[in-house]
């Protein structure tokens, strides 16, 4: 019973988002030809100046059907591309967190700063 209530709450949240999306698309606010102020190029054209053009070309290539021989190549290339994007984001965030932790360790806390004592974990002679 408890699980069913939880599922209903999640679905209610999803319905709220879906309803809002439907209204926005129906009124042409999002998802239209000029979504986000970016115009959709004609089929087969590519506008290098427009960021949206690249997105649309990519999106269309996703929707386009391919031959059996091409499917494995598409899958592996697409998977690698998406995995690469995720790996880059993860690497950037993890590296950022690591650098931030290094900076936080070197920075003296309010008590240490007030007393003039170095922080406990600060390495000796590595203050410069």
């Amino acid at each position: 019973m408890r699980t069913i209530v939880r599922i209903l709450i999640i679905l209610f949240g999803a319905v709220l988002v879906a309803g809002a999306t439907f209204l926005l698309v129906d009124n042409g606010v999002i998802g239209g030809n000029e979504a986000g102020g970016r115009t959709r190029p004609e089929m087969g054209q590519f506008d290098p100046d427009s960021l949206a053009a690249g997105e649309f070309e990519r999106s269309e290539s996703r929707e386009r059907g391919g031959g059996r021989e091409e499917q494995n190549t598409f899958l592996s290339a697409g998977l690698l591309s998406n995995l690469g994007t995720i790996a880059l984001i993860v690497a950037a965030v993890v590296l950022g967190q690591w650098l931030w932790s290094l900076i936080a360790k070197r920075r003296p806390g309010p008590k240490e700063a007030a007393s003039g004592l170095p922080p406990e974990k600060m390495p000796d002679g590595d203050l410069t």
């Binding site: 988002v17 999306t21 996703r62 697409g78 998406n82 995720i86 880059l88 993860v90 965030v93």
Partner: protein
């Protein structure tokens, strides 16, 4: 005389991990409809929605606790994580909903008509791109957990099954290969 019942308690962390790996794999495959074909893309997308609901159910306690404390005292990372998860939920809902709205296989197979319009296509693609970035951030924020759990449930069991070299005392020949089965 008592009868033995073979009831094995499921490890919640392991279950969580397996479900997350399955969701991640399903998401990556679903992002390539031209490779899988439209039918697999659509049915996998619907299954993905169900798996996402299960994922939320498994993290229900965290979800409720964070929602209650969101406007009060909450660590910065938890707050960022919460906002990111909310955006990911919105993006995933838009992907599934827009996918259903322009469904060519799944909904017509159930006798439901599909809506036509380029708007849904554009929204579906844009939400997919946004979800990919949000998923990357979501994974990055849970990276430590992912590493430790992978080590615990994937790397360690594999290593424990590999043959180990054990030095034999001087009277022995040289080195003996011993396979140790470690039951977890």
């Amino acid at each position: 005389m008592m009868t033995k019942t073979n009831t094995r308690k499921t490890n919640p962390v392991k279950l969580n991990y397996l479900l997350d790996v399955a969701i991640f794999a399903a998401f990556l495959v679903t992002l390539e409809p031209h490779a899988t074909g439209m039918a697999i893309h659509e049915w996998l997308g619907i299954a993905f929605g169900a798996a996402a609901v299960t994922h939320l159910l498994l993290h229900w306690k965290w979800l409720v606790a964070s929602t209650r404390r969101f406007l009060g005292k909450l660590p910065r990372q938890t707050r960022v994580n919460y906002l990111l998860n909310a955006l990911l939920f919105i993006a995933m809902t838009i992907i599934v909903f827009s996918g259903l709205m322009m469904s060519e296989v799944a909904l017509p197979a159930l006798g439901l008509p599909m809506a036509d319009g380029m708007g849904w296509h554009n929204l579906h693609a844009q939400a997919s791109d946004a979800a990919l970035i949000l998923l990357g951030l979501h994974i990055a924020l849970h990276w430590k957990w992912i590493l430790s759990t992978t080590k615990r449930y994937v790397v360690s069991p594999i290593l424990s099954r590999l043959p180990r070299r054990r030095a034999v005392p001087a009277s022995g020949v040289a080195i003996e290969l011993v396979t140790e089965e470690v039951s977890s």
